[in-house]
Every structure is written in structure tokens, then in C-alpha cells.
Symmetry: C3
């Protein structure tokens, strides 16, 4: 039980540091939350339920993740909106000595420059996490509840 509690703590801290990096607009740190060859995918619950493999966004490995950040920086230079991530209901399961999986709920709020605040996205994170040398995502899938989506997402979820 003690081990499970610690594993829960370790994984929740990873999720927490991840969202604080995004909400503070430290996008350049984002690829470092993944393993060297880690994958990131955004999809919708509808596509996931139908078994459609087409993600809204897909990136594998830190170079691709860095490219993604670079294009976001280029595209969004004049849009100073903010984001706020809430993460909840984190369930963690150990897969083996070195790996865990996690499911959690997320809610992302977008705050426009004029101060308007709106629900931007909600959904589930499905993660496979490498625990050593420090916890990092081997795979992070963000499954969005809504099919409505900005074609140009402002930041990663």
C-alpha cells in the first residue's frame, strides 16, 4: 500500500508540473516531460470510440515535439490568451518495475486578452509513464470530449 501511495504521488506530481509548465507558457519545457522517443497525441472521444486512428495532433520524439512548439510560437505571437488546466480523478496502475499507466480527467479554461473566460476543452489523459531516471511520459494521449476543435490549437493540452 505504501508503494502504491508513493507511485500515486509521483505520477500526480508529473501531471502537476506538466500543466504548470503549459499554463505559465513555458512551452520550451514541454518536450522534456516526454521520454526521448515519447509520443503525444490529441484525439476526440468520438474518433476513439469508432476506432478511427486519425488524431487531431500527433508527435513522436522530442525533435517533433520541439517543432510543434516552434510552430506554435510562430503562429500565436499576437494572441496573448492564457490557459488554466485542472486535472482530477487520477488513477495510477503499475505496469512493471519501470513503468506505470494513468488515466485522469482534465478541464482546460481559456482566458482571452479582453478577460473573457471560457471552457476550452475537457477530456481524459491516458498515459504510459517511464518512472526512471525520473518520471516522464512514454505516451500521453489527450482524448477530448468535444468534436469541436480549433484547427490551430493554441497550446498542447
Amino acid at each position: 500500500m505504501r508503494l502504491e501511495t508513493n507511485l500515486q504521488f509521483v505520477v500526480e506530481q508529473l501531471h502537476a508540473r506538466y500543466v504548470h509548465a503549459l499554463d505559465a507558457d513555458r512551452l520550451e519545457d514541454w518536450p522534456l516531460f516526454f521520454t526521448e522517443n515519447g509520443t503525444y497525441r490529441i484525439t476526440t472521444a468520438e474518433n476513439e470510440a469508432r476506432g478511427l486512428p486519425l488524431p487531431v495532433l500527433y508527435a513522436q520524439g522530442r525533435p517533433m515535439l520541439r517543432d510543434r512548439v516552434a510552430s506554435l510560437r510562430h503562429a500565436n505571437i499576437y494572441e496573448p490568451q492564457r490557459y488554466r488546466h485542472m486535472v482530477s480523478a487520477v488513477i495510477v496502475e503499475r505496469l512493471d518495475e519501470a513503468t506505470a499507466k494513468s488515466v485522469s480527467n482534465f478541464l482546460v479554461i481559456r482566458i482571452m486578452e479582453n478577460g473573457e473566460t471560457l471552457l476550452f476543452a475537457s477530456g481524459r489523459y491516458l498515459d504510459r509513464i517511464a518512472l526512471a531516471p525520473e518520471p516522464r511520459y512514454e505516451e500521453r494521449v489527450a482524448i477530448c470530449d468535444s468534436r469541436r476543435f480549433d484547427t490551430l490549437l493554441a497550446i498542447p493540452l
Copy 2:
């Protein structure tokens, strides 16, 4: 302290598994989160403050909980909306060897078929939890902040 930490962990996991079952539309699993004779009640903060006993919804025992699921399945077959539950600020207190109580905040997001996302409900869960053989709700009360309510709730809160 170690014991309290474990109790907190156990109760938060129960809450987490509960909301994932609902959000994944596994309504048939819902009665299993309650003890055989467990009770579920939805009420409003206004009614609660006035001491009005009339709940928005009341069910006692797994057969009644299963009936509730059956009627929801019947009523909502053509409404494919989704829900996303966020749970926060969980406070747990041990009542005796076998029982704990918990208060927590919830926020439920509803995602309509057209993709529109809205705040559906917010409030507090007040729970009495049987800890063995595995953690289950003896009583779960969802106290909603708003008096506005769908007469036909789409899913349990």
C-alpha cells in the same frame, strides 16, 4: 499520519473510479460503487439549508439503483451527450475501524452532440464509506449549488 494518508488515498481512489465509470457511460457499474443497501441522493443547497427533506432523486439499495440506470437507458437512448466530472478538495475523516466519511467538491461538464460544452452542475459530495471488504458508498449525497435542474437528469452525478 501514515494511516491517514492511506485512508485519504483509498477514498480518493473510490471517488476517481466512480467518476470514470460515469464519464465512460458505464452506468451498469454504477450500483456496484454502493454497498448492497447503500443510498444515493441528489438535493440542492437551498433545500439542504432549509432542512427540506425532498431530494431531487433518491435511491436505496442496489435494485433501486439498477432501476434508475434502466430508466436512464430507456429515456436517453437518442441523446449522446457526454459528461466530465472533476472532483477536488477531498476531506476524509475516519468514523470507526470500518467506516469513513468524506466531503468533496464536484464540477460536472456536459458536452452536447454538436460539441458545445457547458457547466452542468457544481456542488458537494457528502459520503459515508464502508471500507471493507472493499471501499463502497453506504451513503452518497450530491448537494447541487444551483436550484436549476433538469427534471430528467441524464446521468447520476
Copy 3:
């Protein structure tokens, strides 16, 4: 690691009890979450980023915090809106034997008397916490994402 887990637990419980006191309108308990000379500040992310020292609200010491509650009670006697706080992504760091710091995300929902529910505020808490004799805020800063703000905040964040 065990110690860190306990520290996390202790701080999250402080945050949880704080928001339940506010959401239950137990404003008179609010100053007791601070040390005798504790400070509370609300600011905006925009001001914080520009290094502007002007807070939206500032109070130092329990007498000032109590004054704040008194004026809220006076101003809002006819506005029975409710609030619901969600706290997420809590990161805790020990500063020394007696003190910890914490960063966390918050989301506050406001429920009007007619039942309308809306996003009221989102942002980050930055806290310095005295751990003994019991955990209390030496400093709590609520940094709001939006610049739009009620000049007369109904409750503390």
C-alpha cells in the same frame, strides 16, 4: 519520500479546508487559515508579469482579514450567490523545518440566485505555509488569469 508524501497530504488538506470554509460561507473562519500576521493578496497575471505591485486586494494580519470579512458581510447581505472552488495540480516544496511553499491551480464557479452558473475566476495560488503548530498560510497570493474583475469581490478567492 515518505516525508514528502506526508507534507503533500498536510498542505492539500489545508487547501481543501480553506475552500470548503469559503464555499460554505463560513467567512468568519477565513482569517484563522492565516498566521497571526499572515498576508493575503489578490492580483492579476498581467500585473504580476509586468512587475506591477498594485494588488486587487491586500490584507495583512488577522485584524485586517476580519475587517475584510465584516465589509463583505455588510456589502453583500442581499446577494445570496454561491461559490464553488476547485483546486488542482498542487506542488509542494519544503523551505525549512517549519515552512513549505506551494503552487496550485484554482477555478471558482459562481452560482447566482436564479440558478445561473458561470466561471467566476481562474488562476494560481502561490503560498508560503507555516507548518506548526498547525498548518496556516503565512502568505497566500491568488493570481487571477483574467484582468476583468468585480471591483467588489463577493468573497475571498
